[in-house]
């Protein structure tokens, strides 16, 4: 093996050791969420559109992952909305909750506190009565976690 070939192979080796574990982690996290969404909603994540009609409020940095306030709101008439779903990408179980809405709710609004194991995207998904889905995503950085 000549010197140039040795150097190229070394660089490739170091690069793969550095980047591959990170890529694998990302793809595993994504697949867990995708599996959960497919199982519960019956559609794939790629079929769900991001929409400004869904307003997701959550802190950018949560002091504690044990207690993260999240609210989902929309101006879409409640008669057109079937349910609200919340998922956290990196939680051991990404599904957090789903709330069925009726016209008696008055408007599309749901607020709760959730547990997050680590920094992750939080996703709020609206299932509309016409069978379509709309989504809002926000990253929440978790610095400290605890069990209450």
């Amino acid at each position: 093996m000549d010197r140039r070939r040795f150097l190229v192979l070394s660089v490739l080796g170091v690069a793969s050791l550095t980047f591959v574990p990170g890529l694998m982690r990302t793809s595993l996290a994504a697949s867990k969420l995708e599996e959960d969404i497919q199982k519960r909603l019956g559609v794939s994540l790629s079929q769900i559109k991001e929409s400004a009609d869904v307003k997701l409020q959550a802190p950018t940095i949560a002091e504690s992952g044990a207690n993260v306030p999240v609210s989902v709101e929309s101006d879409i008439p409640v008669e057109k909305v079937d349910s609200i779903w919340i998922f956290v990408d990196n939680n051991p179980s990404p599904w957090i909750t789903d709330v069925k809405l009726t016209p008696m709710n008055g408007k599309v609004y749901f607020a709760t506190r959730i547990k997050m194991g680590q920094t992750s995207n939080v996703r709020a998904i609206l299932k509309l009565k016409d069978g379509s889905y709309l989504m809002a995503t926000k990253e929440v950085k978790v610095t400290v976690g605890g069990c209450g």
């Binding site: 504690s64 976690g145 209450g148």
Partner: protein
């Protein structure tokens, strides 16, 4: 067959804590030992099903730097689901896990209480601050 979780715990204890700070599960013996060794006490309140405790045990306590700082303390590890754990968690008003109570055995006073898991760096800062509040001269 040994459950995976138990196996991880045993490995963590053997690899991570061996030769590091003194760990006790009996508070009375731990406090007596701390008095004798003139060291402050860190109570570590944990529960079996709390992922944040597992995170601390797997990634933080096993770190060499953290372990070095923890050497300055006598650690009393208490599961809040046991009778002893419940008794002592009531005493210190521990409302969740993981909770770290830094305690001066000589004065029988609590120096500080911290709730929640932390990164290695933040946990070292916490230990350093607790160490400075104690009678130890070199922190």
């Amino acid at each position: 067959m040994i459950p995976m979780k138990k196996l991880i715990f045993v490995l963590v204890f053997l690899l991570g804590f061996a030769g590091a700070s003194e760990w006790f599960s009996d508070p009375i013996s731990g406090i007596e030992y701390a008095k004798k060794e003139q060291k402050p006490v860190m109570f570590y309140f944990h529960s079996e099903h709390c992922p944040y405790c597992l995170q601390m045990e797997t990634f933080v306590f096993t770190d060499e730097k953290v372990s070095k700082y923890m050497d300055k303390f006598v650690v009393i590890s208490l599961n809040v689901d046991t009778q002893v754990g419940r008794l002592w968690s009531k005493r210190f008003n521990v409302f969740g896990t993981p909770t770290f109570v830094f305690y001066d055995p000589k004065k029988d006073t609590v120096m500080s209480i911290a709730f929640g898991s932390r990164s290695k760096e933040d946990f070292i800062k916490l230990l350093f601050m607790a160490c400075e509040r104690s009678h130890i001269k070199k922190c």
